[in-house]
Symmetry: D2
Subunit: 245 residues, 4 copies
């Protein structure tokens, strides 16, 4: 329990370079903003990685040193190499935590892990979102009240084509009339996955205290269990444990 | 409720052609055996399809006319074309039911829908399996008692690397000392999926009354809901339903 | 599958007698309105029962002849005898379906089956509710679109203190800013339970087509599985099924 | 995260006083054995309580100072006062963790929280039990391998009449031919509940390393989230958060 949690924040990092409006909100990139508030936690050790680095910054070494990976992508999901997606996928099944943010719902890695299209209803109108905590006793809800608001958001609405989450932590209300399962927990293999909806690139959502609290909580929840057993080789038969007639 | 349920039974159909011992158990192929007992139900309309047919027998037309697809494969999972897998996958998300049998746990379609490795522990020793019904009120358990036995089975044991099922209907006990989540229900997109473990090619398992009962129940459970709404185009924004300020 | 489903609609039936405004909306009582539209279905056989009848109209005989019980109560939850609650509870565990409507969230029977307080946030302001279908492939969602609206409703908001539903079918949006898990499926014992939020006594909600569709769908979904095995006596040991050393 | 977890171990403490065979296995009582190994953990602060103490040792003060309550009872479930059951129940809904062991499946508190009969199949034959870990990445499975064995156990078999657990961590295999969902997680209100099957009074099961590991893991998993919001009064309406027309 006492060891540092090693976090890697991955960002596509394209909007911030192309669009001055985005750069104004996130001058260090979205990954920089997230790494900033996570890095202030004593029990976290944080690094970043972006699409344009070799192997998208996600080498075998980096992933082997990652307890929890945070994923933000939007306009370049197709540019993420399948081999890197497979590598991340394998690590999640082996126990690495994965936190997928906002438009990451359409990333290759999230769709591969969910097994569904992950489509949703959406609209960019800067409307209000209110996130209701439906499991207040869940570790990811720690320190929040009954709800919190995001003054200006991109709307993400149902039906969200995901498997029903193992635990549904947040449901969002939008001024325009939709709802959304905006905080969803999954166990896949030995790894924990949390999808969290807030976070459009043109709004200062990752500067908001409650959003930061959720992501910090999610990192602590998603960290791997220690001492996992060696996997069984699925291509070899297992001898019986009891004597057969 | 009254219309016929259109079932397509898909089988790899290779073991039966290569191995006389298998052919002796399933002279019409495993698909033939399954189509045989399903075809005796008045509310089912049944056809079969096999790997060596063009498009593996799963053309757009066939799938469009399929309410529930049953899948049996083992030695040739890799020979199933990705384009056909994608077609089946799309149909499941649109509402077609899918029943995956036994070694189909390692089929491309099941792994794609589960998002996990679907690995498990196994052994061919002809040992006894006892399936315990843990949700007796579930439609798939209709007509069964507290448990039923398969005198000789291939052992499939935990840990089975699947997402926790939406509903767990059966847990198997094996003489050799293992347990298995042997009847698992999932909703993915608009489609229902049932994984059912029994069924090795060298044992007459699909000739057993209780196994046939489960598969018949599963077909009725997995049939699509009628009148599904047209999907929302995920690449177009949705106008607000309420007036925004 | 072909036999009639025997439905009993239970209503407290007090508001309608005391308040002319309620009587104007439901001149035959809420139970009468519900029995009316259910009775028009060919596969249903419908009766009603109310609080003021002997044994609240829920004698052993009536319950033994009930496949699905619908429950509407509000101002007199405490007047329901514990012995009758226990009788209904026992029947649900034995397989009888139970559909709990609106203010029935605070009924003795629902709280006993849920094991939680079933508290919620509420407000009577005649505001708009929009129910989003989050599992469109579920039998209870059959024939509905992506959402439907109730023009004037009592608001029921999160956090709703229930166990996470086995299947969450609807999430409601309210004009006043809340959300609600408004369609929740549970399996308890051999019985199926559906909680459905819409239905205040002063609004004509049970006259609305989509609400009627949901309740009809829920009856078909909640009907018992036939041929359930005799329960095991929990006070007697079971002999081993395998030879012990 | 760093504060001590306050654990109260509750035991009926009757078998040990009446039966020398039980006293020989648990000379300090079952509560003493459990408090012993828990007390060796630096992050736990442990006390015990037993049936024959005033208020069964579970005064308001004790419960207010309890983060996680462990429950062992068997022959005297009926002697636990309803008022104390209600007090424990209330505290669980407010966030206190509850770990129910073995024959506690039939305790008033567990049945009240589950909403089902909690019946099961059983036999005292000193047979072997093997617990398979079906969610190896769950915190309660930390440090365990693929399975562990209990050389002599009381058999508890399916069907176990519980709600499907939110997370199923262990499934047991028994030499006599049964299976059991032997490690079950639930969220109820703000509180976490873990049911763990092993532990008959005549076998030295709580002296076994793996069993102790599971209970220690479960305490850490079940501890309350800090900073929970004040509950909403369910008897007062809530004003709208948005302006209504």
């Amino acid at each position: 329990m006492s060891a540092e949690i090693k976090v890697t924040v991955w960002n596509e990092y394209l909007h911030e370079l192309k669009d001055p409006a985005v750069a104004a909100v996130y001058p260090q990139g979205i990954h920089g903003a997230i790494a900033g508030f996570l890095g202030a936690e004593k029990d976290f050790s944080v690094r970043t990685a972006v699409l344009r680095e070799p192997e998208h910054g996600l080498s075998e070494e980096v992933l082997a040193q990652t307890d929890v990976l945070i994923w933000w992508g939007h306009m370049a999901h197709d540019q993420v190499e399948d081999s890197i997606v497979d590598r991340v996928y394998q690590r999640v099944l082996e126990g690495m935590g994965l936190i997928v943010l906002h438009s990451g719902h359409f990333s290759k890695i999230f769709r591969k892990l969910m097994g569904t299209s992950c489509g949703l209803r959406w609209r960019e109108a800067g409307e209000k979102e209110r996130l209701w905590v439906v499991e207040q006793g869940h570790p990811i809800a720690q320190g929040l009240g009954h709800y919190f608001e995001i003054p200006q958001t991109e709307m993400y609405g149902e039906r969200f084509d995901i498997p029903a989450p193992d635990t549904l932590v947040f449901i969002s209300w939008y001024a325009g009339g939709e709802v959304f399962r905006s905080g969803c927990c999954y166990q896949r293999g030995q790894g924990k996955i949390f999808y969290f909806a807030p976070g459009h690139e043109t709004y200062p959502i990752y500067h908001q205290k409650e959003v930061q609290q959720v992501i910090k909580n999610a990192v602590r929840w998603a960290k791997p269990v220690s001492g996992l057993p060696q996997p069984v080789d699925p291509f070899r038969p297992c001898p019986p444990l009891e004597k057969l007639d």
